[in-house]
Symmetry: C2
Subunit: 217 residues, 2 copies
DNA sequence: GTCTATACGAAGATAGAC
DNA sequence: GTCTATCTTCGTATAGAC
């Protein structure tokens, strides 16, 4: 494992190169499977730079979560603002679309979108309580707004019911983002199908919308 | 970390004690977070016994997946047999129930059910290709039967559509089994709510059933 | 303020004695 | 089958150069 990652801007400061490389490699290979030596090598940085800038591998991971999820959640908030500026209140289908689309069609300046999406999907399924805490902190401002909007769109549900359907949406989106199901239903040894395409977005939105609406009619 | 796990039968052979302890500790603490030294200590075995019986930590994990998922999938197949013995063909709701209920209400002789469910949820979100392969092998015989049954219940869908809804069901169940969403929507610092209860099973079934049926009407 | 060379303890894996 | 000793690689810490 030697040589730099050509997708990383070598002119950027070390700190930024480390975060960009972390999102890419954690997304592509997995977090545990990526050693700090391979990561700093790909970023063109010294092994000790991680400790200097982030204190630990987990600190670098948190910085990656911050960067990747902040952009995503800013976009979600922006689109929710638009939706709520309209005269009629948003439907459940509208809310699901606004939450899911930015996740499935991540726009990234350096074309890292697939790796970023996988990174977020992986982070959402991390068992470590500290990572979960970081994710929850990033998601909390968005959580609050979507839960309120869902509550208005589904006045017959209690708080537990709203939280349940919101968590199901977040979880299912994370599953698709992580590509965890790409290997499902293959005969043993058969090769893996590509991954979620943007064409699948409509199916994901339809599935989640119907799931949320279940029981209201 | 010293002392044996009281829940593990000390009379059982070393190999079985290791598998039982692995399912329990991997489920409770996470796979990466469980060291082989701590695991063998809890199982009352020597550190080298893992290498002898399973060649590696991953080999032990695979044995745990085999044991935990085989019981689950046997139960699914048994209930699917019952369903298909009836005169009228099973509905989508029936199929979802048969697949989801054994996952959410795992019956275990030693009351390890919660740990087993979390173990399976974690395994389903493992990024390692070799673990995914093992899971896919275990799931494949069940996959084939459920996909066929879903195809019969939804004659208007093509193969891709059937695979999509099946994968969504597997993924969403895994999310709930892993408890990954317990921490969602808490103010930062707030304590974590318990976990999925059996009472939630009906909501999960309703959500998935509606999601699968979306687009057929 | 940044970055590098180097060292330390713990992890998983393994060889060979018993 | 089981155990001790040992190997490599991991994440992390520190001293000091620029």
């Amino acid at each position: 494992m030697s040589g730099r990652d050509p997708a990383v801007d070598q002119e950027a400061p070390t700190r930024d190169r480390l975060i960009a490389t972390a999102i890419r490699l954690f997304g592509e290979r997995g977090i545990e499977a990526t050693s700090m030596r391979a990561l700093t090598d790909a970023a063109g940085a010294n092994i000790a730079s991680v400790n200097y800038h982030f204190r630990s591998k987990e600190g670098l991971l948190r910085a990656g979560i911050d960067r990747a999820m902040r952009a995503l959640n800013d976009e979600r908030r922006r689109r929710l603002d638009e939706l709520e500026a309209a005269p009629e209140p948003p439907s459940v289908a509208d809310l699901v679309r606004v939450f899911v689309e930015p996740g499935l069609a991540l726009a990234s300046p350096r074309g890292q979108s697939a790796a970023v999406a996988r990174f977020i999907g992986r982070v959402l399924s991390e068992p470590s309580p500290r990572i979960r805490e970081t994710v929850a902190e990033q998601l909390y401002p968005v959580d609050a707004r979507f839960l309120a909007a869902l509550g208005r769109a589904l006045p017959d549900r209690d708080e537990g019911g709203i939280k349940f359907v919101y968590a199901s949406m977040v979880g299912l989106l994370g599953v698709w983002q992580s590509g965890a199901l790409d290997q499902l239903n293959r005969a043993p040894g058969q090769r893996v199908t590509p991954g979620t395409t943007t064409a699948d977005a409509e199916r994901v939105i339809a599935f989640i919308t119907a799931g949320i609406l279940a029981g209201s009619r």
